[in-house]
Amino acid sequence: MTESIIEIDNLSFYSIFKEFTIKFKKNTFTTISGPNNCGKTTLIRILDGQIKTKNTVKYNQKNLEEYQITTLSEKIQTIIPTEITWINETIEQELYYHLENVELEQTVKKERYKEIIKQFKWTTYQNKKIKQLNSFQKIKLQLSLSLIKKPEILLLDDICNTMTKKQTKEIMDILTYYHQKEQITIIMTTSNLENTIKSDYLYIIDNSEIILQGSPLEVLEKDNILNRIGLELPFMIDLSVKLKDYDLIENIELDMDRMVDILWK
């Protein structure tokens, strides 16, 4: 079994969490979902040390508070969309600024810059002013700035919430690429269960409890529990689960075309 890279042990925090424990395995893309006010953002803030809790968060088996802040900010990158700020005027300047403090040879820095520009399709945007970017591009830029540092853990708080499906797919493709290629551990909260499908592991939390966990498809099949706590199933999962109940299909099908082919051969 892969060891946990970061974990919360027996956390009690106001009325949000009571004796709450959760573990995240190394090199895994984990998503966390739950109804409004279940503590998703608080969890992200606790994991990156913004909210200080004593002896409850362990990063690589050591208490978070035993690390120097600079080490943590290098190894753990966090994106909370409502808290994004910029220092420079253009995308290029901002990317180089974030590389400045990383101890790397100039050639490696240039390679990283080039790779980010390619993966994020910034080629024609490099000199664009950040204030002219739309909200999607701003989140994408923030993700570029986090990934250019190649952190060990990437913490994302519902970053796709305001995005269209096409935009969400673009971000999910980037995340999958970096997770697989660089073995970055990704922990992402989301209010939309559709965004959990590409992850390796899914936690559903409600009332300070993990009420469901496992592979996304295993979890999402529990439609009654998810609906009861106020979560909406992705359309294709919902359709599949109901068609399975009527014995019209055997397995969950995520692709609409294939579903049509299965039903009407």
Binding site: N36, L231, L263
Partner: protein, 263 residues
């Protein structure tokens, strides 16, 4: 009453439409918040806007703007204010509302949105996302608006809270005869909650009409880059590719019944 807009220009926007009030109207496409602000008179463009028979001019602009509520995506937190009551008093002052019995009005406002009176004492920063959304609406109800404009109102809400907010907006329309106009790019929400839809592309309305009819133009919408509600998309695929005689439905359970009949 109608809101008539003729060649309303602002920056690159150019809008012409007629909106029937006492309706739930959705707006979707690129940068639609500016359009919400133009129609609600929170932004001033060039061109003609008529609220009923009245043409909006410099002289009557503020009078008609006062009839509109504009509810932003997120509630603005004011550092020197704490409780809901303080926010309400501040709203009354800022909007120069002449209210005979402010305490009763504040209580009534909360009652309409289904919140208890003790919310007046609650600290706004401690409220949840859905509670803040309701308080934003309650604040605006203090001025008894005829039209309520909302930026992406369902954005941060889970399914349960999303439905609750819709019931509230629908009640404001049905019982209190308010017109609800909101923007979002979530096709599923527009399909479920709006009765009339404006589609915006290149800062112009490229299509408008009853929502249920608009979303049946799947090929056109796809070509123009608009998302299709999944429930429509699935039925459309089955009809197109397999020539199956299933109907378009709003509820997934009705589709299942149809599929059961036709497989």
């Amino acid at each position: 009453m109608e809101i008539k807009i003729k060649k309303l220009c602002y920056q690159d926007y150019n809008i012409t439409t007629t909106l029937n009030t006492k309706n739930i109207i959705g707006i979707t496409g690129e940068e639609t918040s500016q359009i919400l602000k133009l129609i609600s008179l929170y932004l001033i463009g060039k061109g003609n806007i008529f609220y009923g028979e009245d043409k909006i001019k410099k002289e009557n602009h503020s009078k008609f703007q006062r009839k509109n509520a504009y509810i932003e995506k997120e509630m603005t937190i004011i550092p020197y204010l704490n409780t809901v009551k303080e926010y309400m008093i501040n709203f009354i002052k800022q909007n120069q509302l002449k209210i005979k019995n402010p305490d009763k009005k504040m209580q009534d406002s909360l009652k309409i949105i289904g919140l208890e009176q003790n919310y007046l004492k609650r600290n706004v920063v401690e409220l949840s996302t859905s509670e803040r959304k309701k308080i934003q609406i309650a604040l605006n109800l203090l001025k008894n608006p005829e039209n309520i404009f909302l930026e992406d109102p369902f954005l941060y809400l889970d399914m349960k809270e999303e439905k609750k907010l819709f019931f509230l907006l629908n009640r404001l329309k049905e019982k209190y005869h308010k017109t609800i106009i909101f923007n979002t790019n979530n096709a599923n929400q527009l399909y479920k909650y709006s009765e009339y839809l404006l589609l915006i592309k290149n800062k112009q309305i490229i299509l408008e009409g009853p929502t249920k009819e608009i979303y049946l133009k799947v090929d056109y919408l796809t070509k123009k880059g608009f998302e299709i509600p999944e429930i429509i998309k699935f039925t459309y695929l089955a009809k197109k590719r397999k020539k199956v005689k299933i109907d378009y439905h709003e509820d997934i359970r009705d589709i299942i019944k149809d599929i059961y009949k036709h497989v």
